[in-house]
């Protein structure tokens, strides 16, 4: 309702001869009015090489609800007969990070291979638990794809399908892990569900090294700093401001604000994005300029 009202107000009496003209005008409105940041839980694809209709190797971080539309796109691209491989890196097994898996259509198709990596030893058990009665009508063992689990060692670089992958332990209930991906000369860091205590320079330096020179940092920016160090301390999440600071110290190029606070509406997330950019500008001093983007469902970025 608020968005419709804002769009009508912004139109200021304009007349549109057809829907296409109105649609064209809508693209000029701020994103928080014309679109939405969405509400899917965590799932990020790293497209290492461009996919075609032929079989492909996909890289994913987490299997939140966002993996369902991703799976539909994969099937639309390849059909149901091309065998694909999915390398999946799991930050942790809290439900919002694996809940999309039962609805990931490629996992039902024989010929597909899912290689699920993580640092938790009980990774497979968490996946099996959410499949089958009483949570889901299909048992895990009925899935058609080949599904294998691999335990990775933190602080060690693993060579996986041509990509160097380094996990790091993060502060979160039950532990979570961030991943640094290096391919050719590009570096992407996926770091969600990660609290930064800010009380030990050595811990800060450790994480700065993890982000060092990254082209893209996908970062848990759920709370304001004041909330993160007070009423929501020990809740296992971080803030936009800490994301900017760590990226500045690390010389990273682009920060993506990720894992938005669910109670924030689009206007609030847009405000956080604008404030983060302002914070980066006024504190830049000797640091390289940092691009900042608030993640939204379907966001695509090219490095």
């Amino acid at each position: 309702m608020n968005k419709v009202a804002a769009a009508l107000h912004a139109a200021n009496g304009r007349r549109f001869d057809n829907v296409e003209a109105a649609r064209s005008y809508a693209t000029t409105l701020p994103f928080a009015i014309s679109g939405t940041f969405g509400g899917h839980s965590s799932c990020v694809e790293l497209e290492i090489t461009p996919p075609s209709a032929a079989s492909h190797e996909y890289f994913l971080c987490d299997l939140g609800s966002g993996v369902r539309p991703f799976g539909s796109q994969v099937i639309a691209r390849h059909g149901v007969h091309a065998p694909n491989t999915f390398h999946v890196f799991i930050s942790h097994m809290h439900w919002d990070h694996i809940m999309g898996f039962p609805l990931f259509a490629p996992s039902y198709l024989p010929g597909n291979e899912l290689r699920i990596y993580g640092c938790h030893r009980d990774l497979e058990a968490a996946f099996r638990r959410q499949h089958g009665s009483p949570s889901f009508p299909v048992e895990f063992d009925q899935l058609g794809a080949s599904i294998k689990f691999f335990t990775l060692t933190p602080d060690t670089t693993h060579h996986i399908a041509g990509v160097n992958v380094t996990p790091i332990l993060q502060l979160h209930a039950g532990d979570s892990y961030g991943y640094r991906f290096e391919y050719n000369d590009k570096i992407v860091v996926y770091s969600t569900d990660s609290e930064h205590k800010l009380n030990a320079p050595a811990a800060t330096e450790r994480f700065v090294d993890f982000l060092r020179d990254a082209d893209l940092v996908i970062f848990d920016a759920m709370y304001s700093l004041a909330d993160a160090v007070s009423v929501k301390e020990d809740w296992g999440h971080s803030s936009n401001v800490v994301g900017v600071e760590l990226c500045q110290l690390a010389g990273a190029k682009h920060l993506v604000l990720f894992h938005h606070e669910p109670i924030f509406d689009d206007a609030r997330i847009a405000a956080v994005e604008a404030e983060s950019r302002r914070f980066e500008t006024i504190t830049r001093r000797v640091y390289r300029a940092l691009e900042i983007t608030a993640a939204y469902d379907g966001l695509e970025m090219e490095l």
Binding site: L198, P201, S224, A226, D227, V229, S239, V241, S276, R278
Partner: protein, 125 residues
Amino acid sequence: MKLNAERRADIVILQPVGRIDHQAAEAFSVALAPYLELCNASGERLLFDLSALDYISSAGLRVLMIATKRTKLVGGHLAVAAPQDMVREVLQITRFDLVFPVHASVADGIRAWSGDAGALTPDEN
């Protein structure tokens, strides 16, 4: 980072000087500790004069959050005053302006605490 201190009646005015970055936050915390010991319901009030503070990191703000929690716990009072434009914006963006009172000047901060007229200098009166 340096922390100047000046007592005026029952108010201690603490003036951090320079930058409180991730490295300096611990020194800030250590320098602040003795004044927190004295800040309680019947003791001294803490007013931070931020006019000489060029930058404060999230780690530095965390120290202020801990100080605020501690003073509230014992019925004490803590406020900040006279932030430079950049620091004032940082307080707004981080929502720390909702954590403690932010006064435009040290004099405003003193006036906000009733019964402290004696703490004002002749220029501030």
